[in-house]
């Protein structure tokens, strides 16, 4: 068709051809476009982390234009009156300048910080989903490990970010990092001095953490995210079991057109939440903390939430110190070594290797692409809840002074509550969730066997009352359902299977209204035709 006259219109087609001639991109690209995504809300939690990371890169780049990671001492001469004339490091001064003297700098700082908290929070939520549904099983062990490492890399990355403004909280955190490093047997003080370039705090730690924060760790995280997504594409999504869904297929929508558009929309909404929080909720107001001084501390000094569990264990761990003598010299293993080095090490290793541990105990060597509902794996659910309870007790203990103050509880009592809860809550959580899982499973089996309760009471000729049950499928001679228990969602209410009229669909409001209008429209058209 009139190619010569419509050059512009054929430009995309011609360039696409040109590209394919050079890169042979057609097949892999189309394969990408046709990747099928299962349509379930819980599969989108990890995306929040991905999108927050993009926001972190964008806002972080902006901050990098103005931040000066130097520990050189200067006298503040900016607009914030209560700090005028105060000696501070350039790092702190430039952070103040970003907050007060760069137009729009404060919202960038706050968005960066909120995005960091969101990044970590969504990783945890996503990880819980993956754990409780068994999505980490073969063949996805490697992706579980990458995800788990991403949490710890994010943890370190956040810690560096928290440290580099050199405000009062940063320095306190650094001091604790120093103490933890020094607690390592044999090499502790050497490691601490190597990290800080001498005695705490020295003059190099902030530049060093800065380069880790803006280059090394983001690069590693970016690489691991790429690997995480690459494996996801290669291995394809897991899916919930259900009609037509087998271990050999994925049922859902293709990336093009439906999923890409939804994903793009979700990115925008994640970005929107971060932007709104960055503007509407103040975070880390460093101007109130003052520059770091070794003699200064504030009540309720805390790390960011994802580090708080480590602070919690430091608070709860009893004063158990090992002291001994060797060749006339005294040596010490401080309690914090067990609490903040050994224990996190154990947690990291158990978490990292969990897929293999579980497979070993269950002697499971199969490939799994169908998810399990938490009720169908009571032991795993129990273990997960146990770990979660352990984590939550430590997390709450990381802020036990804030709780003590605001809820009028004795601080000492809070420590003891935390210590006791740390021992009692995990087994209790295991037992309770184990029982609940079995109970839910039992109920599903009952419904499969006897059908759904209809709420209709009938009276038999012999005067007996009974409730009519609606069987879900064919029944045998005793009226028992013959459906196998397969870990699918079992309908429990009549409206799920249509006996009580259509279900209310739609998220906030019923969509039926619209359908009615559509029907009305159709009716009109029909009437028009007549």
């Amino acid at each position: 068709m009139k190619k010569k006259r419509f050059d512009l219109a054929t430009l995309p087609e011609r360039s696409a051809k040109g590209i394919d001639e050079r890169f042979h991109a057609s097949t892999p690209l189309r394969r990408m476009f046709n990747k099928v995504f299962p349509d379930h809300w819980s599969f989108m939690l990890g995306e929040i982390a991905l999108y927050s990371f993009i926001v972190l890169l964008l806002t972080g780049t902006f901050l990098g234009l103005f931040f000066d990671p130097s520990m050189e001492e200067v006298k503040y001469d900016g607009v914030y009156t209560p700090l005028k004339g105060i000696e501070m490091s350039k790092a702190y001064e430039s952070t103040l300048d970003i907050s007060f003297e760069v137009r729009g700098g404060l919202i960038m700082r706050q968005m960066h910080h909120w995005a960091a908290l969101l990044f970590m929070a969504s990783i945890v939520v996503h990880m819980l989903r993956v754990f409780f549904t068994g999505a980490f099983r073969k063949p996805r062990e490697a992706n579980w490990m990458i995800g788990f490492l991403l949490f710890w890399l994010g943890f370190m990355e956040g810690l560096f970010g928290y440290s580099i403004p050199d405000d009062g909280l940063s320095g306190t955190g650094l001091r604790v990092i120093n103490a933890i490093t020094q607690s390592i047997p044999v090499i502790g003080s050497w490691a601490g001095f190597a990290l800080f370039g001498g005695e705490f705090p020295g003059t190099v730690i902030i530049p060093r953490f800065y380069i880790l924060h803006v280059l090394i760790f983001p690069a590693i995280i970016l690489g691991l995210i790429a690997a995480h997504m690459g494996l996801l594409v290669k291995q394809k999504h897991t899916q919930w079991p259900g009609p037509g869904r087998t271990n050999k297929n994925v049922v859902g929508v293709r990336m093009f057109p439906g999923f890409a558009m939804k994903g793009g929309g979700f990115f925008m909404i994640t970005f929107a939440v971060i932007a709104a929080m960055g503007g509407l909720f103040q975070i880390n107001p460093i101007w109130l903390f003052g520059p770091y001084q070794a003699s200064v501390i504030s009540s309720a000094s805390q790390p960011d939430w994802y580090v708080m569990f480590l602070d919690g264990i430091a608070r709860l761990w009893p004063a158990w110190e090992t002291r001994f003598e060797l060749f006339g010299n005294g040596y010490t293993i401080p309690p914090i070594f067990w609490a903040a080095v050994v224990l996190p090490g154990v947690i990291v290793n158990i978490g990292l290797l969990y897929p293999f541990l579980e497979a070993r105990f269950t002697k499971d060597k199969e490939q799994h692409h169908l998810l399990q509902r938490p009720r169908d794996t009571p032991v795993r659910t129990g273990l997960g809840m146990m770990a979660l309870a352990f984590y939550l007790v430590l997390f709450a203990s990381g802020g036990n002074d804030v709780i003590a103050q605001h809820f009028d509880i004795s601080l000492n009592a809070m420590t003891w509550i935390g210590r006791i809860a740390l021992l009692l809550a995990p087994p209790a959580a295991f037992w309770i969730s184990y029982r609940i899982a079995l109970g839910l499973q039992q109920h599903d089996r009952e419904v499969l066997a006897h059908g759904v309760e209809t709420g209709i009471i009938k009276r038999a000729p012999d005067g007996r009352f009974y409730e009519v049950h609606q069987p879900l499928g064919p029944v045998d001679d005793h009226g028992h359902g013959q459906l196998e228990y397969e870990g699918w969602v079992v309908p429990k209410k009549m409206n799920r299977i249509g006996a009580l009229g259509p279900a209310i669909r739609g998220f906030f409001s019923p969509l039926e209204v619209e359908d009615k209008e559509a029907r009305k429209g159709k009716a009109k058209e029909l009437a028009g035709k007549k």
Partner: protein, 359 residues
């Protein structure tokens, strides 16, 4: 994934094929079967469809307006810091609200579009992840072939040569990190000394206790039941250069001081460290090094706000609660001829968090 479809029979240029036929064929080749693909509105241009379009348009408009508002706020809103509750304090919230709304509108428009206008779809993709043992064997052979061609085990000379060549190179790769190493027991043994070490920092003259602004402290400066943060009166003594030196000087009541004095004998290094009713302890917590400085003047407890260790001042700053295991080190003090506090010696035990070589 291998494509097992017979491609040769498919001609994309056949005139009766619609574009969707091509899409379906493409999907089929990628192992995807489009089971269900149905437009949301059976007939184009109905009132309901128009309404959805208007909703989407509305969100795009919101995005445009909010983004415009963002630009206007960014440029025109008074933003320079002022004390109080002026308009500048609304600058960041306004930016956040407008940007948030703009992005939300864009997101909502896309999601509504995808949910309400794009066809409803169910596709099934085959996983094709059956293990291909032939492939495994071919690749394995290629790998093993490389090893056999090198055949190091049959060539002991090369084996040794590789070890001799590679190991030093490995060391050479690691050694530059040695630039980071600083001897913790080198220059002045900083783990065991603070700014109150007269020999090291004050040419052997006794080191005075000074305030944050560098002025020396007299006994009458601290009221009974009062405490003051003291620093070593040496160059940079009040800065972070001497981060292990901040000291809490406490003026006890008579009866508390009496008790303290009686208990002092229990700890060998603390003997004679008080001056009258004054006592000075390191402010650096023996747990993790936070400044333990929440002094309760009635109970004489000192609390560290980081991890809740509590120390009893009247009993040699013994840890009585929380994770700390060691007493706060005492700074032995006296008053010099001019009436100022000074440290009669440096701290006698290391200050701050414990470490391996600490006795």
């Amino acid at each position: 994934m291998s494509t097992q479809h017979n491609d040769s029979t498919f001609d994309p240029d056949e005139p009766h094929l619609t574009r969707f036929d091509l899409v379906r064929e493409g999907a089929r080749r990628d192992g995807v079967e489009i089971v269900h693909y149905e437009p949301r509105f059976a007939k184009a241009g109905t009132a309901a469809e128009k309404r959805v379009e208007r909703t989407i348009a509305f969100w795009f408009m919101i995005t445009g307006l909010a983004a415009l508002a963002f630009v206007v706020v960014y440029v025109a809103w008074p933003w320079e810091y002022e004390f109080g509750g002026h308009l500048d304090k609304w600058y960041t919230p306004m930016l956040g609200a407008t940007l948030g709304l703009a992005l939300f509108g864009l997101g909502a428009a896309q999601i509504i579009w995808a949910k309400r206008l794009l066809p409803a779809e169910v596709s099934v993709q085959e996983r094709h992840d059956d293990v291909d043992t032939v492939e495994q064997k071919l690749t394995g052979a290629t790998l093993v072939n490389m090893g056999q061609e090198l055949n190091v085990s049959r060539r002991p000379l090369l084996k040794g040569a590789i070890a001799l060549g590679a190991l030093p190179l490995g060391a050479a790769a690691v050694v530059p990190l040695g630039g980071m190493i600083v001897d913790p027991h080198g220059h002045g043994d900083p783990l065991f000394h603070t700014g109150f070490d007269a020999k090291q920092f004050n040419e052997g003259k006794p080191v005075r206790l000074v305030r944050e602004d560098g002025t020396p402290i007299r006994p009458e400066d601290v009221s009974v039941g009062g405490q003051i943060t003291a620093f070593p009166g040496v160059p940079h003594g009040t800065t972070n250069v001497h981060a292990d030196s901040p000291t809490l000087l406490i003026h006890l009541r008579d009866n508390d001081a009496k008790l303290t004095r009686e208990n002092l004998g229990r700890v060998e290094v603390n003997k004679g460290g008080m001056w009258q009713n004054f006592v000075a302890y390191s402010k650096i917590c023996t747990h993790l090094g936070c400044p333990a400085s929440l002094y309760e003047q009635q109970t004489n407890r000192l609390l560290c706000p980081c991890h809740q260790s509590q120390f009893l001042i009247t009993d040699n700053a013994k840890p009585i609660f929380g994770p700390a295991t060691r007493r706060l080190p005492m700074l032995p003090i006296g008053v010099d001829d001019e009436g100022f506090f000074y440290a009669t010696s440096d701290y006698k035990v290391p200050v701050g968090a414990a470490f391996w070589e600490r006795p």
